[in-house]
């Protein structure tokens, strides 16, 4: 079955309203391929979402029960659903602003409470829907509509954050590697307990345009230069690793931090 047919059967509509080159399309396709690979159906899962472009992924398009809550509140709603009916397979899809800024407290407490839900954070580095304002993951010195002179605040490393508060499953995949992303989603949906994935995604319309990488292609190329899988990273020297972020699946803070130390 090709992706278009998959989209026809699993989405409420094939045509989305995302901007040309949006990484969320890659996430959607990889997600559909992943549930196909697992032999599951879209409506085996139910979804909660917050507010922002990320919330449109499940709420407008996924053909399954879904709850489009208020900004940042997707995780507590997911906890309510899961607790009230443990048979539901609850998935939360949020953005970086949604899950790490306004909903940051809910995220870390869900980890502490060990709620068995899967949380996807579609990280596009800023608030895309509202016009491209700086967010909790905006890289240092990046330009956004509220940091025209360059962002002066440190971004969150979401994988480090999740593992740091005791998470036992945190992964990161850039959209530049769709096959790996798809595999990552598959193993995440197959795992138990609280699971977190940061999907590093390009936003050419809001982020790229202000940061000299205005096309999706250039942003993908940038991702390929700057993100490296943990398998490859192991064979690199620390000078080769310098400035690059590692992606893959991490189970402990120690496993992840080792790559960070090597970077310095």
């Amino acid at each position: 079955m090709n992706v278009r047919e998959l989209r026809q059967s699993c989405l409420r509509q094939v045509r989305t309203t995302f901007c040309p080159g949006c990484g969320y399309e890659i996430f959607i396709n990889c997600f559909l391929r992943a549930i196909e690979g697992l032999g599951r159906r879209m409506d085996d899962y139910c979804f909660t979402a917050g507010i922002g472009c990320s919330a449109w992924v499940p709420n407008n398009y996924f053909k399954a029960d879904n709850f489009h809550t208020a900004h940042g509140r997707a995780v507590p709603a997911a906890i309510g659903l899961k607790l009230a009916n443990p048979d539901l397979e609850v998935i939360t899809i949020g953005g970086d602003g949604d899950l790490a800024s306004i909903g940051g407290n809910h995220l870390i407490h869900a980890i502490r409470k060990r709620v068995p839900i899967a949380v996807f954070c579609l990280n596009n580095y800023l608030y895309g829907m509202t016009g491209g304002q700086a967010g909790p993951t905006t890289p240092l010195s990046s330009r956004t509509s509220t940091t025209l002179d360059g962002n002066s605040e440190e971004p969150f490393d979401l994988v480090k954050l999740v593992l740091g508060v005791g998470g036992r499953y945190a992964s990161r995949y850039p959209t530049a590697y769709p096959h790996l992303l798809k595999k990552g989603i598959e193993s995440m949906l197959d795992a138990d307990g609280f699971r977190f994935m940061e999907v590093v995604s390009q936003c050419p319309r809001q982020y790229g345009i202000r940061n000299e990488s205005s096309t999706a292609s250039r942003m993908i190329a940038w991702q390929k230069e700057n993100y490296i899988s943990k398998e490859k990273a192991r064979s690199l020297s620390s000078s080769e690793l310098h400035g690059r972020l590692v992606f893959g699946n991490f189970r402990t803070a120690g496993e992840y931090v080792q790559f960070l130390t090597e970077q310095q």
Binding site: M1, N2, V3, R4, E5, L6, R7, S9, C10, T16, F18, P20, G21, C22, E25, I26, N29, C30, L32, R33, E36, G39, R40, R41, D43, C46, T48, N59, N60, K63, D65, N66, F67, H68, T69, A70, R73, V75, P76, A77, I79, G80, L81, K82, L83, A84, N85, D87, L88, N105, H106, H109, A176, P178, H179, K182, A216, S217, I220, A221
Partner: protein, 471 residues
């Protein structure tokens, strides 16, 4: 290996990701400009395709790679058709046995809230510690276990309210309890409950504010916040009892109303009433209402008769779209159409207002010939009752109107009472929130008797006003 690669030009956004990602460079710009104003892509060398699928994965549905005929692709998604679980309609009124052994109990207001909620079928509680509502949280944590219900202590009140909404969509009767500062945090979620028509009960044990104020002292300072606190400002059902018995009864009523109307119902108490211990009579049977579900019916309003629509739960196979955004009857977002928004908001108001006569519930005493009508809510109403009785003994023509429903507001009844030309007197444990509302309904003299000092109003003080005219 040759494969059939097609690009649907109507879906191509011209983003170039296929060109970027394809390791064999089989795509290029075509001469055609697509719907997004950019050049749509075409395939130049299909023979080089290895079928890796990267282009498909990065594309918003325009590219499709079709396999060779002899390749076997199995997909369960292909068979994704209507999976509606064939269930019969459910819900409506039912009569059940009381949870506690029928008889006389001596309990606090907070205990009565817990016992009544559980009796009414509440099986989900999320909360956060706050005085003077703590006992509800503690008692729920203890009692839920034995009943197979779910209890969770959230990280804050915002999380409490959203957990409650999630649980409600999973099919459980859900509740939370808080006080002023927590209630302010909950307003965001309550607004979503209004818009997405999520039945739930929120107890606000009022204490003296603003802000932290007097955490342990009673007040009635959130009366209008309960109705007007959220953005969007649609109608709300707000109840305020005056005794522990009535707290028990109105808690059950709150759940019944929430389930019938698919709205958040706010039950007000206060630091005095919640800690007061009194006699409670618990009967053998009680009537409870469960939300109605009719398979296949639209899950959202506006319904033709402004009654609550059918409410499926997650997992019923209805592929629910629940959103706080403006939506049509199926739940699909429709935020650009002015008429959808207007009809939806008017419907949310009408759901409650069209049944206002049935909803409004007041205790009335000695009103027939009253020249002075005392209007008082909750705990202030309790003080006023004694004062009115005593004033009658002294020959004063006074009567009492004690609305149990703060909202919808008993406008009709107050207007009727105003026709005699009576003076209205409104003792309140606040700066005078409801006296203002009353003065908006009628032209009669309305005298506020405010007491925002964190104390219950001494009945003798009200009697003093009724006899001497001094406050």
């Amino acid at each position: 290996m040759p494969r059939v690669i097609t690009v649907d030009h109507s879906l191509c956004r011209g983003c170039n990701l296929c060109i970027e990602l394809c390791p064999k460079s089989i795509f290029q710009d075509s001469a055609e400009i697509g719907p997004a104003g950019l050049r749509v892509k075409e395939v130049i060398s299909p023979d080089n395709c290895t079928g890796c699928g990267l282009c498909e994965l990065c594309c918003p549905g325009a590219i499709s790679i079709d396999p060779l005929p002899d390749e076997v692709f199995t997909s369960i998604c292909a068979e994704q058709k209507d999976r509606r679980v064939e269930t019969n309609a459910r819900g409506g009124w039912k009569e059940i046995n009381s949870l506690l052994t029928p008889g006389r109990y001596f309990m606090t207001g907070n205990d009565a809230i817990v016992e009544a909620a559980l009796a009414a079928g509440c099986r989900f509680f999320a909360g956060y510690p706050i005085t003077p509502a703590n006992e509800i949280l503690e008692e729920m944590s203890r009692r839920m276990k034995g009943l197979g219900g779910k209890f969770i202590q959230a990280e804050d009140e915002i999380a409490s309210v959203f957990m409650m909404l999630g649980a409600s969509w999973a099919g459980l009767k859900a509740m939370t309890a808080t006080a002023g500062p927590g209630f302010a945090l909950m307003q965001e979620g309550l607004s979503l409950a209004d818009m997405a028509e999520v039945p739930c009960v929120i107890v606000n044990v009022q204490r003296a504010g603003p802000s932290t104020g007097q955490a342990t002292r009673p007040a009635a300072m959130d009366m209008r916040e309960a109705r007007y606190g959220s953005h969007g400002g649609v109608q709300r059902i707000v109840l305020y009892p005056d005794s522990v018995q009535e707290t028990f009864d109105l808690t059950i009523e709150s759940f019944n109303l929430a389930e019938r109307f698919r709205v958040p119902v706010i039950l007000l108490s206060d630091g005095y009433l919640s800690h007061l211990s009194e006699k409670v009579e618990i009967g053998e049977r009680l009537r409870v209402y469960d939300r109605v579900y009719i398979p296949g019916e639209p899950a959202f309003g506006p319904t033709p008769d402004s009654s609550a629509p059918s409410m499926p739960r997650f997992g019923d196979g209805e592929d629910l779209q629940v959103t706080g955004s403006t939506h049509d009857r199926s739940g699909k977002r429709s935020t650009a159409d002015p008429s959808v928004q207007e009809n939806l908001v008017f419907y949310l108001d009408r759901k409650i207002l069209s049944r206002r006569e049935e909803l409004v519930d007041c205790e009335e005493m000695l009103l027939d010939d009253a020249e002075v009508v005392v209007v008082a809510f909750g705990t202030a109403g309790r003080s006023a009752k004694w004062a009115v009785k005593e004033a009658r003994k002294l020959g004063r023509a006074v009567g009492l109107l004690r609305p149990r429903t703060v909202y919808p507001f008993p406008t009709q009844r107050i207007m009727e009472l105003s026709r005699s030309g009576a003076k209205f007197v409104v003792p309140e444990m606040s700066q005078g929130q409801m006296s203002f509302v009353i003065s908006q309904c009628i032209a009669n003299e309305v005298v506020p008797l405010p007491q925002p000092n964190g104390q219950i109003i001494d009945p003798r003080r009200i009697l003093g006003y009724l006899t001497e005219g001094a406050w």
